[in-house]
């Protein structure tokens, strides 16, 4: 018998390959393939030394790795090379070498895996039947419980639980699914779950989860200590319960997320593409925005009102899985917080802050060290688009290969939906969603995330600190606090940051045209920008070339809360030029929007008129968001908002594609004139001005002609898409532009973004938007960091 000559190879695997059971996986794969060698964890990832008869066998082995890798693992790169032959017996898992790592790519928190669900549901499994803290190397908490690196039980919040003998055996056995599972626990030695009433008194029950389920059936509202913080749960079918929740949470109309028992339920009531289904069942377990089917709506109208989508997620912790064993209806599963404050994560915090919201709480003693909201994603043109980046996605880097050498860059983001971004070692690490920095809790959270990430990723000093140009943002003040000399500070214009965030995500080169459309951002001229179009060259120099008309934002931010004020501002301008046939301004307004007659104090109308004419106490704005708001109130959709973007979303939801036929996916390369409004452009010295008053004027005409809200909204959206196309075509003609970037909160609008992509792609452009970081202000910090790196 000929003995085949053996060669030694070194395989290096990088990516999220730690904390995901990778080494036992390789161990088993190598044994089954009959190879000798060893596997170890290093700061560079997983290193495998393997003895085979040929490099072809190594390639096959690598193929098997890719195909069968543990679900939560993310393989970035696999390389291998021949090394001097080392004969060894069998295959071994080596101990981790604890070096002073800059940072290790540990997996974000992972949804409970199917094997652990089996354990939890197995009545014969004495240690883990219905045990709410069951996990393994392939699932469970990670960053939410990590206090510092390296990822080891003593440096997590599980350090106060000493493993029992059985758990310890599992932990030490390389063949066990719980080998080195840092949060490993069972009934005998792990955390305990209790049900308490709103005062914090324990409810006397042997089965807290069963009792909680009964209470939920009974219409009670329950706070549940989940993976990243407290969630608030109640019956998703009950109008009465949800109205009560809305009242208690000071949330009159913003949609609530839903947790459903399984994907079959979801499929019945929602359109579900393959990618949507796979994201729902993924290790990240985010909230996925799915289109309602409408034939049969299984939830209360109060869940999401007129929204065409619902945010749906599947059970992702043992607590959820066990609850759904006892109930057969969907649950509202919303963040445990008041208004836009950070999600509550500590037990006493919950009892105190959620007092008045929750009737009962399911609490436990596995501390949450870092708060993480549930992430929110949607599938857009067959790609995952992250709208809120948190649990399961952060703190994994969003991009790599950004060349800054040894420098460390911090970007402090904007104001709303704030995130921070650190650029270090070539990686762009964007933090999880922090929230609006307008209350103490959020600001404290902001500060703690800054410290935590610095510690987690071993960042000692900062070379550049980028921030928004707005002088009063908390994030700006924070940057100034970090560097009082000001030498490291780099102010970055808001809308340029939006566009840069897309460039960073896609590593784009060359000249491009960027549209940054949102509600508010401090402009280079100190005005409130929001409809900006920039030419960007290869050196990242921005030239502003177009925007909407500059107009008064009467009384400043009060007009953001009250869209009717913006409507009146627009109408005042129209009245000037075209209102000669009316007695006075009020007559003009009431004839177009009669609802204003009874609902707005005439004195307020006078005040707005005064502000529009004199500019007193009012900045100038080019905001696209305000145009949406003004049209929304003009049509009677929303006059006063209770959450950001509500009026604009209401306007989008009025489009009835069944009535007017969808323009999308029909290979259209233009929009017929009768399906949109006439577009007018003017020019000042430097830029083109898109005449939004002219569009507004045509909408007024349509209202007078008795056209419906649906048709008007449709034409309005089509007009904006046509503007994007027209300006892009001109940029191609004059500047040879082929790449178009769309960013800013306005592009959260499904219909608008889809139509823009459709038209641009059908005209031969390459279109880019934000997919990995939010297209809203959650993506600003990435753009700021990228600009700082140039």
């Amino acid at each position: 018998m000929t003995v085949k000559k053996k060669y030694s190879f070194l395989i290096k695997i990088s990516g999220i390959v730690q904390g995901v059971g990778f080494r036992p996986f390789i161990y088993n794969l190598a044994l089954n393939s009959g190879f000798s060698g060893n596997v170890s964890n290093t700061t560079e990832g997983v290193l495998i030394k393997i003895n085979t008869s040929s490099s072809g066998e190594v390639e096959n082995f690598i193929g098997l790795i890719r195909e069968n890798k543990p679900k939560p693992a993310l393989i970035e790169n696999i390389v291998f090379k021949k090394i001097p032959h080392e004969a060894v017996e069998g295959f071994q898992i080596n101990k981790s070498i604890k070096t002073d790592s800059r940072f290790q790519l540990i997996s974000p928190d992972i949804a409970t895996c199917s094997k652990c669900v089996e354990d939890i549901m197995d009545q014969d499994n004495t240690n883990r039947y219905h045990y709410p803290f069951t996990n393994c190397t392939n699932c469970g908490p990670r960053f939410t419980i990590i206090k510092e690196m390296p990822y080891d039980r003593p440096s997590t919040t599980m350090n106060k639980f000493k493993m029992c003998d059985e758990c310890m055996t599992e932990y030490d056995d390389p063949l066990d699914r719980r080998f080195h599972a840092q949060p490993n626990a069972c009934k005998k030695c792990g955390p305990i779950l209790v049900l308490v009433d709103k005062r914090g008194n324990t409810v006397d029950t042997g089965e807290p989860l069963k009792t909680a389920a009964d209470l939920l059936s009974d219409g009670k509202i329950i706070g549940i200590k989940s993976l990243g913080g407290y969630q608030i749960a109640c019956d998703g079918r009950s109008n009465k319960t949800i109205k009560r929740l809305r009242g208690r949470k000071l949330r009159p109309s913003k949609p609530f997320a839903i947790m459903a028992s399984d994907v079959h339920w979801v499929k019945k009531y929602y359109h579900l593409e393959i990618l949507e289904s796979s994201i729902l069942g993924s290790a990240n377990a985010p909230i996925v925005l799915l289109k309602k089917k409408y034939d049969e709506y299984p939830l209360s109208y109060q869940v999401s009102l007129d929204n065409k989508r619902d945010g749906i997620m599947l059970p992702y912790t043992p607590i959820h899985h066990i609850l759904f064993e006892y109930i057969d209806f969907p649950l509202i599963m919303t963040s445990g917080n008041i208004s836009e404050e950070p999600i509550v994560s500590q037990n006493n915090e919950a009892i105190e802050k959620l007092d008045g919201v929750c009737d009962y709480y399911l609490i436990h003693n596995r501390d949450i060290h870092s708060r993480y909201d549930d992430s929110v994603v949607k599938v857009f043109r067959e790609r995952e688009m992250v709208l809120r980046r948190a649990r399961g996605y952060a703190p994994y880097p969003v991009s790599s290969g950004i060349g800054i050498g040894n420098k460390n860059i911090l970007a402090t983001g904007a104001h709303e939906k704030n995130t921070l971004t650190f650029l270090t070692g070539g990686y762009a690490i964007t933090t999880q969603h922090i929230g609006d920095l307008d209350n103490i809790s959020s600001i404290e959270f902001f500060r703690s995330i800054y410290s935590d990430y610095k510690k987690l990723f071993g960042i000692k000093n900062l070379d550049i600190i980028a921030h928004d140009m707005h002088p009063d943002y908390v994030s700006t003040r924070f940057a100034q606090e970090l560097d009082s000399s000001g030498e490291k500070l780099l102010p970055v214009q808001h809308h340029q940051a939006h566009i840069a965030s897309v460039i960073a995500e896609n590593n784009l080169n060359g000249d491009l045209l960027g549209f940054a459309w949102d509600g508010t951002g401090f402009g280079l001229d100190g005005k409130v920008w929001g409809s900006e179009v920039f030419l960007v060259n290869n050196d990242m120099e921005f030239t502003r070339i177009a925007h909407l008309c500059e107009k008064v934002l009467p009384g400043g931010s009060v007009s953001i809360q009250k869209p009717y004020r913006m409507t009146i501002a627009y109408l005042r301008k129209l009245f000037e030029e075209c209102g000669t046939q009316y007695q006075d301004f009020k007559d003009y307004i009431y004839s177009i929007q009669p609802e204003y007659k009874d609902s707005i104090d005439p004195l307020e109308i006078d005040a707005i008129e005064g502000q529009v004419l004199s500019g007193f106490n009012s900045p100038f704005t080019t905001s696209m968001g305000r145009l949406f708001d003004a049209v929304s109130s003009l049509l009677g959709i929303k006059h006063i908002i209770s959450f950001e973007g509500e009026a604009a979303i209401g306007l989008e939801m009025k489009i009835n594609e069944k009535l007017y036929g969808s323009l999308i996916n029909r290979n259209k390369s233009d929009i017929d004139k009768d399906q949109r409004y006439e577009i007018g452009l003017d020019k000042n010295n430097k830029e083109y001005i898109i005449n939004d008053f002219m569009i507004f004027s045509q909408i007024v005409n349509d209202i007078k002609d008795g056209k419906g809200k649906s048709e008007i909204s449709y034409k309005f959206h089509n007009t904006l898409a046509r503007i994007v196309l027209g300006i892009s075509m001109s940029a191609r003609k004059n500047n040879n532009i082929e790449n178009i970037v769309l960013s800013g909160g306005v592009f959260q609008n499904d219909y608008l973004l889809d139509l823009c992509f459709e038209l641009l792609e059908n005209n031969g452009f390459k279109v880019y938007s934000n997919f990995k970081v939010p297209v809203n202000d959650g993506g600003i910090s990435l753009g700021q960091a990228y600009i700082a790196s140039i």
């Binding site: 004139k673 006439e678 007018g680 008053f693 300006i727």
Partner: protein, 75 residues
């Protein structure tokens, strides 16, 4: 800055006229323009014809848009 849309007068009735704009015909109130004639160009707002404009001016509202949007023969 022109905020209203130009339209061509097709037919004059007593207090109203039929106008055509962008291929769509409709009725507007012409009380403000007693001297209006057929084939005049007017600007229209909120159901009223409010001003007579020069034909050249009417056709020029496209202005920079034409230069921008590459719409050859698309009007």
């Amino acid at each position: 800055m022109c905020l209203a849309i130009p339209a061509r007068v097709i037919n004059i009735n007593k207090h109203t006229a039929t106008i055509e704009s962008l291929g769509v015909e409709k009725e507007v109130d012409i009380t403000l323009l007693p001297d209006l004639k057929k084939d005049d160009y007017v600007i229209v707002h909120a159901g009223f014809a409010i001003q007579i404009i020069d034909k050249e001016e009417a056709l020029a509202t496209q202005g920079y848009w034409k230069e921008w949007s590459d719409e050859e023969g698309n009007q």
